[in-house]
Symmetry: C2
């Protein structure tokens, strides 16, 4: 990963630190200042991607030559950058776990120049993946027992974002993705049916369905709404009979009144002796539309969810921050209105029974009785402690989120007007905060 | 670009076409079905990236081996995929031009398997870049003569999306970006100040400002809101005097009541004999906040715009489609409710005077008098016709958008409740549509 993949100000600050021999270790804490509207919880995601970014962050000759052109970097700074690597420690909430506002998702401790240089990339990856996983989790809650398929690739924010969305939605329990490269990379189930263009490329619907079932006889899913949905379903029935198909198959509805069409479709399929044929719905779905269809008892077996999940349409980012909380042995904070921070490395103490809210405390204070610490160390001296392969990392995260779903209190879990849990601050952290704030107030105007 | 960077259904459809020897040339049209709420126009963007995607799309041995594992692809199909390249023609609206709903942004004509395989990537890139450029354009309109800086990288949808946002916002007139790699790649101006953490890393604000101005004496921008803004501005004044700085410099406000703080800051800087010192504002800005500050007469010289622009927060995607409109010499369409399409390759005829709305017609009909065609051919037989380098492509697009801003009618241009222009259909296209729709209605139920 090119070292230029950062904000210019990170490079300037790091350059200044390097030039001045400021090699103190600093701790930065990454957290969401508040949850977006319509979110009762966040699903931590993106950690494995962020650790890969940290491992690969380096400057090559071309990068350094560009920085020389940009100006402001003297030769000794460029020489220092040429060998710089991330050598720090990282504590983080494991992917798939649920978090709330003001709880650190990740903390970096490293020589201050390193910790500053990687800010942009780490903040970007954790924010993006957590945003998407949190939206996908709401779809998962809405869908109940029905399967979810990630159809977002065509409208994610770029090609690489498609793979990120496939990964984040898999963590939140999506069963499959249309993004083939992402499926390959992360060991997901690739899924795909046919487009309207396929139907139109043949003289009539029946010819298209016949061709598709012949070429892909394993669990074919027929798109039936190109012209007229009930007629399309009957065309499927005819082709199934004609070819003598007996294995799993299904139809996809992509437009119109999905609840009504699903009932009509179910009736036709049942009448035709195909009670096990599946119905998949797609087309501008989000958690609210899915919940409405489930509530209406629409006989839909699977939902293809695209854009609304893949860009987290109603809350496409997170008010996340990566803030300096400690430099050397000196805890620090910031007093800017609306953006104040708590000092020192932290830990989140959770009640596994779910009755009491989380407590944010100091990383080195004892874990309170009946509480579980959320953050674990994931990197030491620049080396990841759990070198899980990309496939296993997603599986483990998905198992964690499964467990979280059982734990998540109802007010945070519900789709309409959810109420997130509010973390409280431990007495030890509160005392430290008061002490550091008083000192900072004095330092500011000097 | 790995050929797996597509949806599985594209591969299945292409596999079916290849296996059946269906090599007819097909035309697909990419357009927005409707504009998002709060958009009066779109800025076409992403074309150069899409053409690069088309040039590089190919399957390597690992891709083919994965497809063998996925199943459903016989050896002859895999062999065909191993050498497939995009060999088609592309017509498109040049980047930086303004478009409206139902106007093709891009049309691909190629053997149907190729045209289908590249759908996901092309639709993804054009949708993403156009979404961001359209949001950034609104910030540009709001800011008037003030400069805009892209600060979005930390919260774009992944690392690569950061470069896309830098590029798309540059097309819409942003003057600089914080994303150093994007600046390098696209010849943009890299921009960066300092973070609160830099101020906190020193014993006091003054020491931090002194260090920064010493290390980066060319146009330093001091972040003044870490503790108390007016005190921070006075600290800048002291350091400027102490170091005898006489060149360009500025301060950045990142929190609080920006209009009031900007006035206070301006007064302090003027009183201190620094009337040319610039004021840059940042912090959750979007076009509405910027317009409010401009309207209030806040003395702000530049705006750093981040997340709200970089994810197009209020409309993070586009109801875009890539629809088959012609196969062989047969124009086709789709009748699905709410998703109906117009047949045949098209052209958009624009009134350069801006008085009359656009007309969508057939590509091969004569250009009406006093009208200008919007789409131009950009690729022939898989080769781009304008092999502009990445830097020149952005510059040309930016010049085009400058001209569009002068053309754009007020109802579409305004920020609050804009009214997009509505394109009409030419008589020739309307007649063809009627004819093809009648035929399709007959074909559907057969």
């Amino acid at each position: 990963m090119s070292g230029l993949r950062t904000d210019l100000y990170e490079l300037r600050m790091a350059g200044s630190y390097l030039r001045r021999g400021m090699t103190e270790r600093a701790t930065f804490s990454l957290f969401a200042r508040r949850l977006p509207p319509r979110r009762g919880f966040l699903v931590a995601a993106g950690l494995a991607e962020a650790l890969t970014f940290l491992e690969q962050f380096a400057f090559d000759a071309d990068d350094l030559s560009y920085l020389r052109d940009v100006g402001g970097f003297d030769q000794s700074t460029l020489t220092a950058l040429s060998t710089i690597r991330f050598t720090g420690d990282v504590w983080a909430v494991p992917e798939g776990r649920v978090v709330f506002a003001d709880e650190p998702l990740l903390e970096v401790t490293a020589p201050i120049a390193e910790a500053q240089l990687v800010e942009t990339g780490v903040l970007n990856l954790i924010t993006f993946h957590t945003t998407i996983a949190s939206k996908a989790a709401r779809c998962r809650i809405a869908a109940g027992d029905a399967q979810l398929i990630d159809f977002a690739f065509r409208r994610t924010h770029g090609i690489e974002a498609g793979a990120g969305v496939a990964r984040a939605s898999a963590i939140a329990g999506f069963a499959a993705t249309s993004d083939v490269e992402a499926a390959h990379r992360y060991g997901l189930v690739p899924s795909g049916t046919m487009a309207h263009s396929y139907v139109e490329a043949f003289p009539d619907e029946r010819s298209a369905f016949r061709a598709f079932a012949t070429d892909f006889p394993v669990n074919p899913i027929f798109l039936v709404d190109t012209y007229d949905t009930p007629a399309g379903v009957w065309a499927v029935v005819d082709v199934v009979r004609e070819l003598g198909l007996t294995g799993p198959l299904g139809v996809r509805l992509d437009s119109g009144d999905l609840a009504a069409l699903a009932r009509q479709t179910r009736a036709i399929l049942d009448e035709a002796g195909l009670p096990r044929a599946q119905i998949v719905a797609s087309g501008s779905l989000d958690e609210h539309v899915i919940a409405g269809l489930v509530e209406a008892g629409a006989p839909i077996d699977g939902y293809g969810v695209g854009t609304k999940m893949g860009v987290a349409y109603d809350a496409p980012s997170l008010d996340s921050a990566y803030k300096l909380v400690c430099i050397g042995d000196r805890p620090v904070l910031k007093l800017s209105p609306g953006k104040a921070t708590l000092p020192a490395p932290k830990q989140v103490f959770r009640d596994p029974a779910g009755a009491a809210g989380d407590v944010v405390g100091l990383r080195d204070e004892p874990v309170p009785a009946d509480r579980e610490p959320l953050l674990v160390q994931v990197m030491r001296d620049g080396r990841r402690l759990d070198p899980a392969d990309p496939v296993e990392a997603v599986r483990a995260a998905r198992r964690r989120f499964d467990a979280e779903l059982a734990w998540l209190p109802e007010p945070a879990r519900r789709l309409a007007e959810p109420e997130p849990l509010t973390a409280t601050v431990s007495p030890a952290l509160a005392a430290l905060h008061e002490q550091v704030a008083a000192r900072a107030g004095r330092a500011g105007g000097n």
